[in-house]
Amino acid sequence: MTAVAVSTDLPAYRAATAELAPRARLADPTEAGPVRVIDGRGAWWDRVSDARDAAGIVLDEPRPASEAVHRALRDLPVPVVVVRRRLRADVAADAEPPLAPLHVTVDAWGPPADAATLLRDAVGWARVLGGGPLEVVARAVTPLAATLALRGAAGGASVTRAVAGGGRGGPSGAGGAVTALALGPRRVEVRVDAATMTTQVAHDDERGRRIVSPRRESAERLGLRRVIEAVATGAVLADLDDLRHDDVLATG
């Protein structure tokens, strides 16, 4: 087995690379064509554009970007995995509704600094549980909250994001929380809580509630593993398309 070279300065990804040995190893500084990990803070799109020589890209928690930015990134010649800790690929698979939901609701709550990303990820959960792309049919915004009525091919969704901070404890440092519900005879409820670092997926039907086992793999290892598999198999990843969808709807 040939170890895939990973270029990153981020400690969590260096640890994840170690956890993937012997399938992955840290790249030499001058090595050509490694998998590159790109920090999503700041103008991440410039760094992604500069990484076209990479075998694959892991984009870590990108801050929301405009449609023009996303348009410029279309047709990248390398597979891109987007790591979104509130919207992990494995958890999304666990949460796939057994029946098309009749409606989806997503409620998100978090600190001001995280507000835009929180709304984007809330839209992402609406897309995941709704089973496909959505469009905005109505939107209401206040200084502390936003709520969107969305519509997809199979049904509707409603997304609400409220901003915490300024309460008794001052601005929240605890991170956001998201509750997503696929409504219908067979319900799915996803609860993502940054403060407790827990994500729970529950399926409800007439027999009761089944709670899916928690995903223990680190988000960084999952991201690296997915891109390594895509590089090996040539699988096409939809992460950037999904990110564009969610960014565009959230930033409207």
């Binding site: 502390l144 709520t147 319900r187």
Partner: protein, 388 residues
């Protein structure tokens, strides 16, 4: 002393809820009379509880053992039955929600009760739920700037829960099945959504009014098949999302009100309808990430609403007619505005609100009469269980 209760109406809400719930009031109330409109169901219910039965109103309103008239007839008849009760000299009324199906009727009922000095409790059981009272106390103790309120209902058929509070089922009343929404027919969709708001969302819209009384602009309203709706309201500072879905089978009912403030997020999970499973469950998560789950109260909103009437009868609490009027007005205004949006919206789910910062809103606003009552608020403490 047990006050004798005469119930007008003999539907599932009487057989499965109010008649057996009276036995949970620690001897405050006893069922003495049930009347129907000729279906014969009153006799079946009365027999189970050792009460008398009749058809029409006259015998019940003339029954000397009836101290309290409980109006549990179809909503469109509530106003007439309140008026008839007052005309018969009755001064203690329990009216199942909704109080009325039009704003004029609601105003007239409350005014008539106030003029007569009649005690009136409307069966908005969530408003009386001890857990909701606790939640409002919590909100009062913190910085309660409300950012968002979301209400989510996904309800299984009621007969699942009826079976848990009745020994034998009663035949379904005729015409009780609501047709599924025809999403291609805005007028039909609007009418059914209005019914759902007036008859079902009325459980929680008084709570919404309590939290964000100025959420008076409809951001969107749309039907959801097979039966349900999705509604967005907006105020200057807060948004409200209200989603209701009735499903023909499946998971246990979900009935949740979530409140996001500047510092806390509060989830209130109400138990399914009809059953007596204690109060709602309240979980508070603060900005530090600490989650607190409060113990359940053994009493539920159904018990508490009858307890509130007993407190009024004893003179322990005072009537707040303005609150009743304002709650009813808010619900009816939301219902009318949502129906107007759906009727005028063309295809279901169409855009009904302008984009933010797009200038003056063209979305329907609730009539000013839906705003909180401008009348004086009573200095007396709120009735037990009342959060308004």
């Amino acid at each position: 002393m047990a006050w004798g209760v005469g119930i007008i109406g003999a539907g599932p809400g009487v057989a499965a809820l109010h008649a057996p719930t009276l036995a949970r009031t620690a001897g405050d109330f006893r069922l003495v009379h049930v009347s129907d409109a000729g279906s014969g169901r009153a006799a079946a219910i009365a027999e189970r509880f050792g009460a008398r039965s009749s058809s029409g109103l006259d015998a019940l309103l003339a029954d000397p053992d009836v101290d309290v008239v409980a109006i549990c007839s179809p909503p469109a008849q509530h106003a007439a039955h309140v008026r008839a009760s007052l005309a018969a000299g009755r001064r203690a009324l329990f009216c199942e929600k909704p109080l009325a199906t039009s704003l004029d009727e609601a105003e007239q009922i409350v005014a008539a009760c106030a003029a007569a000095g009649a005690l009136l409790v409307v069966g908005t059981n969530h408003l009386f739920d001890p857990a909701w009272v606790r939640a409002t106390h919590y909100l009062d103790a913190i910085d309660r700037r409300i950012a968002a309120v979301t209400v989510t209902l996904c309800l299984s058929p009621n007969d699942r829960y009826h079976a848990l509070v009745m020994g034998e089922p009663l035949p379904a009343p005729p015409g009780s099945a609501r047709p599924p929404l025809d999403l291609s027919d805005p007028a039909q969709s609007a009418a059914i959504v209005r019914q759902l708001i007036v008859g079902l969302a009325v459980h929680d819209l008084p709570l919404v009014r309590d939290l964000v009384p100025d959420a008076t602009e409809v951001a969107w309203a749309r039907p959801i098949a097979p039966i349900g709706f999705d509604l967005g309201l907006r105020s200057a500072d807060a948004v409200v999302r209200f989603t209701v879905l009735m499903v023909p089978e499946g998971a246990d009912s979900l009935w949740r009100v979530s409140i996001a403030t500047a510092g806390d997020r509060i989830d209130v999970d109400f138990p399914p309808p009809f059953v007596h499973a204690g109060s709602a469950r309240i979980a508070v998560r603060d900005a530090r990430g600490v989650e607190t789950v409060y113990p359940l109260d053994r009493r539920d909103g159904y018990d508490a609403e009858w307890g509130a009437l007993a407190a009024l009868l004893r003179g322990d609490t005072a009537m707040e007619y303005d609150e009743l009027r304002a709650d009813a007005a808010f619900v009816l205004a939301v219902a009318d505005a949502a129906a107007a949006v759906i009727r005028g919206g063309g295809a279901p789910g169409s855009v009904v609100a302008p984009a933010p910062n797009a200038g003056p809103s063209t979305a329907p606003s609730l009539d000013q009469s839906a705003a909180p009552s401008a009348g004086p608020t009573l200095p007396a403490p709120a009735p037990a269980g009342s959060a308004s």
